[in-house]
């Protein structure tokens, strides 16, 4: 009965003071939205990052550190120290432990986007996220030597569609003076956005890449030695080397054995990495800032809770008469104190509910735009246990903050005489 009375009184009192308290709740709502949003995006981005490549068991490249190999083969950052001979690739393909392999050849660029030479096995075996395969937004995969498939961001930024003709540049960098003008490529398809580095890459066949480099052995085109597209289609364009190979293992338990075998390959120095582990290591390097961001938003919530306490304490002066009436009617100091606790917790609960609604609405509105414009895939999902814990800590902190005005009200009303003015 007393609890119900306290609840009715507290809610009526909140509603009575809604004008002042709405502003405090707004501050609190925004800070909780920020805190929850940061945690939500943090785990989403980590999830997206660590599954930039999935389904691939090993990445094989020339001997180097795992992070370096990961950076150039998956993120197209930096360059390979060396290439892998094609004969090695062929030997790997014969290994019974290997289910499939995807050769990748890097080095050229298109308007600053990396050109990746590969073969049809890329479309068949490459996976990202939760085992998602690549989808074409338009057109089809390359079938001709001079076909090219564009990543979503490349197509969007350069406004390309199937059928467009593009000229690749020799080497990396966004402004290259050496272009493969003799052999323009035709856009055969555009990939759907994935939120991975695939969006920022240009895919051609290994043969196409080989063809445009005939006559470029010295690093520049030698006049008369380069091929016309018609000549190229007649030639055997088997590459002499590739940059990296994605490997799918037949039986997963053999992954480590195979990794060791490749690292000890006798014909040339190779490295094999497990992409999941390398991605986690890389995230540990990059992921420090997001933890700091979370701490900062945590402090923002604490700041607004302190603001809430300040408002409650300021309101306390106005409530002396009301407390005197309740006390004179027989309310105990405990009941008076409980009003402050209930009011503060109710405010934080309202802020939490509003923050959830605001966050959900924001994600629904911004999600598709983020994917289209920045290739960041963030959708609505149920909150995980950490996020619920963070959310629940807000009313708990509210309760702790309310203890100060509540204790003041409790001891004050014990010593208050009849009437509010004593």
């Amino acid at each position: 009965m007393k609890a119900r009375l306290a609840l009715t009184l507290a809610l009526a009192s909140l509603w009575h003071r809604r004008g002042v308290l709405a502003l405090v709740s707004l501050t609190l709502t925004l800070s909780v939205t920020l805190l929850l949003g940061v945690q939500y995006l943090r785990s989403d981005i980590r999830q997206a990052f660590t599954s930039t490549v999935s389904g691939t068991d090993l990445i094989v490249g020339a001997r180097s550190g795992p992070i370096n190999l990961l950076l150039y083969s998956v993120f197209h950052i930096g360059d390979a120290t060396n290439n892998i001979r094609w004969s090695t690739v062929e030997e790997l393909a014969r290994d019974p432990r290997i289910d499939w392999l995807v050769p990748l050849s890097l080095g050229d660029s298109y308007e600053g986007f990396r050109v990746v030479g590969t073969d049809p096995s890329f479309a068949a075996h490459f996976r990202y996220g939760r085992d998602q395969a690549l989808q074409l937004a338009e057109g089809h995969w390359f079938s001709d030597t001079f076909d090219v498939v564009l990543g979503a961001e490349v197509a969007r930024r350069k406004n390309h569609h199937s059928g467009d003709s593009i000229v690749l540049a020799h080497g990396g960098g966004s402004t290259s003076f050496m272009k493969h003008r003799d052999s323009p490529f035709r856009v055969s398809g555009v990939l759907a956005a994935t939120g991975t580095p695939v969006d920022r890459a240009v895919y051609v066949s290994l043969q196409g890449l080989e063809a445009i480099h005939v006559g470029w052995e010295s690093g520049v085109a030698l006049p008369g030695r380069t091929l016309t597209p018609a000549q190229a289609r007649q030639r055997d364009l088997t590459p002499s080397s590739v940059t990296a190979v994605l490997v799918g293992v037949e039986r997963k338990v053999l992954t480590f054995q195979l990794q060791r075998a490749i690292s000890q390959y006798r014909d040339e120095p190779l490295s094999a990495i497990l992409p999941g582990i390398a991605l986690s290591e890389l995230w540990r390097l990059l992921g420090q800032f997001e933890r700091i961001l979370l701490y900062i938003t945590g402090f923002v919530v604490i700041t607004s809770l302190v603001g809430l306490m300040a408002v409650l304490l300021a309101l306390q002066a106005q409530r002396r008469q009301e407390v005197a009436i309740l006390r004179a009617t027989g309310a105990s100091p405990g009941l008076i104190a409980s009003l402050y606790l209930i009011e503060c917790v109710a405010l934080t609960l309202v802020a939490c509910v509003l923050a959830l609604a605001l966050g959900a609405a924001g994600l629904t509105l911004v999600g598709p735009w983020l994917l289209d414009n920045y290739g960041i895939r963030i959708g609505l999902r149920p909150l995980d246990s950490t996020e619920w814990l963070i959310l629940a800590s807000v009313p708990a902190a509210g309760l702790a903050v309310a203890l100060i005005p509540a204790l003041r009200a409790w001891s004050g009303s014990r010593h208050q005489g009849l009437g509010g003015s004593d």
Binding site: M1, K2, L5, L9, A12, S13, W15, H16, R17, Q321, E322, A324, I325, L326, R327, A328, T329, G330, A331, S332, P333, R414, Q416, G417, L418, G419, G420, D422
Partner: protein
């Protein structure tokens, strides 16, 4: 100027005694002087007029009677029980069960409707809820009606009520659940003469019907004739 207001009646029947105090004294702080009060004695159903200039300790005495403060010296018997040596929780419960209080002004909880204000004692005390007949809401309605608060005012924000109406709602709250004693701290000081007399008449009539004693504090000696007894507190310098 002490006016010992002892009644000629027999003080032996403790059940019929609403209030009896002996050598009451109170000190607000260690360095403060001791305030002493004349002995009081009141039979149930009888009304007492407490009169004194400002600073004479009227409000302090009411705080002691209400059980909001514990007397430093002396003892206070209410309804045959010694309430002066009880724990504060017990005094709160005793106040909820047996006392009604009316202040000088600002009597109503601002965020409750007039009706909810009247019902407050029955929500705080099971005894008062039981005594409110036939039901708390019905009793509150009849009290508000008797105190001339129009029904369309019952659910309005209390800030829309005139001061006279607010004081009458406060009287209804004090009377709800038929408490034995009502403490009224200058409830008419903010009212004009017409309203004042009407207020006192209504309060005393309704109190009489419930056998409720009213202890009425005022500096206005012109009101003394409404009451059976009067006590004057001396001015302190």
């Amino acid at each position: 100027m002490t006016g010992p207001a002892h009644l000629p009646g027999q003080a032996t029947q403790s059940t019929a005694t609403a209030l009896q105090s002996r050598n009451l004294g109170f000190r607000w702080g260690r360095q403060q002087p001791l305030l002493t009060f004349p002995d009081l004695h009141l039979q149930t159903g009888e009304h007492l007029f407490l009169h004194g200039p400002s600073g004479s300790g009227k409000s302090t005495l009411l705080s002691l009677l209400a059980g909001l403060q514990q007397p430093t010296t002396g003892e206070l018997m209410m309804l045959g029980e010694d309430v002066s040596h009880r724990a504060s929780g017990d005094r709160d419960r005793f106040r909820a069960d047996h006392l009604g209080v009316i202040f000088q002004q600002f009597n109503l909880v601002p965020y409750l409707t007039p009706l909810a204000n009247v019902l407050l004692p029955t929500r705080l005390s099971p005894l008062r809820r039981q005594r409110a007949t036939p039901t708390p809401t019905a009793e509150a309605a009849s009290l508000l009606g008797a105190l001339a608060i129009a029904e369309d005012h019952w659910q309005r924000p209390v800030s829309q009520l005139s001061i006279g109406q607010q004081q009458r709602v406060a009287a209804a709250r004090a009377l709800t659940g038929a408490p034995e004693i009502i403490l009224a701290d200058e409830p008419t000081s903010a009212l004009d003469a017409d309203n004042r007399d009407r207020f006192i008449e209504l309060l005393l009539t309704l109190a009489k019907a419930r056998h409720t004693s009213v202890i009425f504090v005022s500096h206005d000696l012109g009101l003394a004739h409404h009451f059976h007894h009067q006590v004057c507190l001396e001015a302190r310098t």
